[in-house]
Amino acid sequence: MRYPPMRGPTSARARAGAAAGGDRASTTRGAWLRLLVLALALALGLSVATPGAAQDGDPGGEAAATALLEALDVSSFPAKGEAIEAIVRSDDPRARDWLQALLDGRLQRTDEGRFVVVLDNAGREWPVEDALNGEALGEMSRRDLDRIGINNALRSQLRSAIAVVDLYAADVDLRRASAERLLGEVDGELAEPLVEVIEAEQDARVRQRLVQALAIHRLEQGEIEAIADLRGSLHPRVRVALNRAMSGDDPLVADAAREALNSIEQMLKVNRAVETLYFGLSLGSVLVLAAIGLAITFGVMGVINMAHGELIMLGAYTAWAMQQLLPGQPGLALMLAIPAGFLVAALVGVAIERGVIQFLKGRPLETLLATFGISLILQQLVRTVISPLNRTVVTPEWMSGSIAINDALSLTLNRMYVLGFALVVFAVLMLIMRRTRLGLEVRAVTQNRAMARSMGIRATRVDIMTFALGSGVAGLAGVALSQLTNVGPNLGQNYIIDSFMVVVFGGVGNLWGTLVAGLSLGVINQVLEPWAGAVMAKIIVLVFIILFIQKRPRGLFPQKGRAAEG
């Protein structure tokens, strides 16, 4: 088991010894290992390794460890290979670090013959630490150090060896990663000891992996029962193994493999569908975020704000600016950017409303043109003041990475956060429109302005508040978008047409419609993409909406009753 896959008579004999040692071993890992090593030492009488340390019950012994490393510093590569094997077998707690350092070329020897690990090999003076006791030795000139060289064969041997060493690590993650690497790499040498490891393994996932790794080997040996262990696994290596078995000599095995492979393909299809749905919903959530503010200013107030995209852009730049203000704390900066982005966009929105839109009341086409002009000015302003180049907004650690559901499906975290954020923003907006005084007044003013005013509602104030709300939500969209795309002056431009499409498709003045339209357009886009290509999918969606509006000019959920009169 603790064998690097090194071929040759030596390892063949070692294998026999290992098996024999395994049979007699007690269940505890350490004792078993020691026995194994003993058996090996006796069987082989290896001259390079000095497993005496293990025999003495002193695994940390300095002399033994030095001897282990000493054996590495020879010119012959085969001899180095044997030395590596010896290290693997030594059960020394530092073995893994040594092997890793050797693999990375950081295991070096000083002129005095001391073994050191180089911590950072940039520049002329390298910080090093003692390979044996981990003591920091300060910086050393690179000229005083000799690297212990390896070749490609040793490199792959080292990788396998590290994987095997890791199987005994106390850390579950290390064991998991090691088991992961073993898939498809198990050979005769490893197979038998692996059975023992599987029995001793406590973690269910690691054990499942090991079982699969072993089953691949068994399948290669023509064991039909192994297929049962591989059934339902989505790992590509498993599929490779089953595919190979299908074209094998034994028709029984081939049929069983084909059958297992078919069921795996079925599951893969489901997984791909789930993945498409996830990406679709993610794209949809972006559309919803971009469009929901528009749904308020355009849908509810009836004001066409072509600068909406630029308000999104300003939100994204706020996130960037916050991260510049708080260097080293991207997460905190992003959290602060949420209220800040809302405020910035809302203030700019109010300025637009007070400065231009209020003079164009009742002239929607002119409003469209004027706000378009504002969008040009804002874009150019950002280009001149900040930069025409894209800025990067750092993704905080807790938002990066992904959740692996299974071997074929993993969901990226940042998209999940944005999806959740979109839903929260939507829910809050819904509450504001339905349950607050402001929402009530907004609906009153949009349905009948004159009547609302005569009931004592200050329509102008409502206009400002509504516009601030819609614009602020655009800023929130920008903060969220900064996590998914590049932040640049053209950011908003890319979303404005899509946003209008979403609002019109969903039905003007209907927030639910915007949510449904955004999510479904996102999913449709992702479903079309594999067979039509990204650009074509977008074109198809646009044409679809154009045709849809011909059929139902008021969108998916048209307003009914008095609200429809606006």
Binding site: I304, V356, R363, E366, G373, I374, S375, I377, I545, P553
Partner: protein, 380 residues
């Protein structure tokens, strides 16, 4: 027969049309004279480059007239007229591409360079016939016309109007832009069509051809203007204005509003296509950026600045804005978008009737043809 001829000739009885045509022809004659008769180096000399620039402005002016026809008189704010302009341009570009023949970089007798580059072995079906000038010039009108007919039929039949129509016309040109960016479309993808050599046998790089194209564009603008005046002063034009001001009322009076809209929209698209076809040989390239929503919305600004529903205002606006653009992008390129954006805001807020409105105010006369036009009523 007689009445239809009268219908087309009626604009010649109007003072505004005569003044417009007079100014246009005088300008054309002046440019020609200064280009041909004045020796190079003289301060009054108009170079071939400048003639070319004026030719470009005139094709833009024709495009603006086309937009004014639908926006000013029909109340349809099209944010997608760039699409018709570009389609006409592509039709012309295809003809010019075929005229290159085997003189391209790869020397293929039939295939344009970009197709050889993409390893195409034969001409796509829609490229056939474009080696014939007559067919190509017909397609200059028919391609945008057909698109406008289909799009307009669908839109007007289901009574999509106002802002909704504006947004879907914008989506239309956006979708076309994405489509034309694709190499698989067979229109040269990102680079478009370029490297033209000659038109109808005349070398495109010679200054005589440039002058000829300038004059041809001027004539096209004059004819297009007269056609539009003829339409808006006819009975049909009155129905259009009625539709613009009160669509529902016009419908209740028994007019099939969507048919008028469809007819005028299609005519306008064909004029835009013609403008594009005249534009392409003068600038020497056509690429998908002409489809960009920004360009389409810029056209609307020309019309708004010049003055809606006057036609001559559209011409003034197109020339003014584009002249400003030439100057600005040459002197301080960064400031151009500020200026353009500022123009959008200032014109809509402070100058709802545009430059033409100022002129009309000055002479204490109503802007010709604007009739009952006022910002508020026309915007519905």
């Amino acid at each position: 027969m007689d009445s239809s001829r009268l219908w087309l000739l009626r604009p010649f009885g109007e003072r505004s049309t005569l003044i417009f045509l007079g100014v246009l022809l005088a300008a054309m004659a002046l440019v020609t004279l200064l280009h041909v008769a004045v020796p190079p180096g003289h301060p009054l000399y108009v170079s071939a480059y400048t003639v070319n620039l004026f030719g470009k402005y005139l094709s833009y002016a024709l495009l603006a007239v086309a937009v004014d026809l639908v926006w000013g008189y029909l109340g349809i704010l099209s944010l997608g007229h760039g699409a018709f302009f570009a389609l006409g341009g592509y039709a012309m570009g295809m003809y010019l591409m075929r005229q290159i023949g085997d003189r391209g970089v790869y020397g293929h007798p039939v295939l344009p360079d970009f197709m050889v580059f993409l390893n195409w072995d034969s001409l796509p079906w829609y490229w056939h016939g474009f080696d014939m000038a007559g067919f190509a010039f017909l397609m200059v009108l028919l391609a945008p016309g057909a698109l406008a007919l289909v799009f307009g039929f669908l839109a007007f039949r289901s009574r999509v109007t106002g802002v909704y129509l504006s947004i879907i016309t914008q989506a239309l040109t956006f979708a076309l832009m994405l489509a034309f960016f694709r190499n698989e479309m067979g229109f040269g993808g990102n680079n478009g069509l370029t490297d033209f050599r000659e038109i109808l046998g005349f070398n495109l790089r010679s200054s005589e051809t440039r002058l000829g194209l300038f004059l041809a564009t001027g004539v096209a603008l004059a004819l297009g203007y007269v056609l539009c005046r003829a339409i808006v002063t006819s009975k049909l034009g009155r129905v259009c204005v009625a539709t613009r001001d009160a669509e529902a009322r016009t419908r209740f009076l028994g007019y099939r509003v969507e048919r008028f809209q469809l007819f005028v929209f299609t005519v306008s698209a064909m004029l835009a296509g013609l403008a594009g076809a005249l534009y392409v040989p003068q600038v020497g390239i056509i690429n998908p950026s002409e489809f960009s929503p920004l360009f389409s919305i810029e056209i609307v600004l020309w019309v708004a600045l010049g003055g809606r529903a006057t036609l001559y205002g559209a011409v003034i606006g197109a020339i003014l804005v584009n002249y400003a653009k030439t100057v600005f992008t040459g002197v301080m390129p960064d400031a151009w978008l500020f200026a353009l954006g500022g123009l959008f805001v200032l014109v809509t807020v402070f100058l709802p009737k545009g430059v033409a409105g100022l002129l009309a105010l000055r002479y204490r006369r109503r802007a010709v043809g604007s009739g009952a036009f006022s910002g508020k009523e026309a915007s519905a």
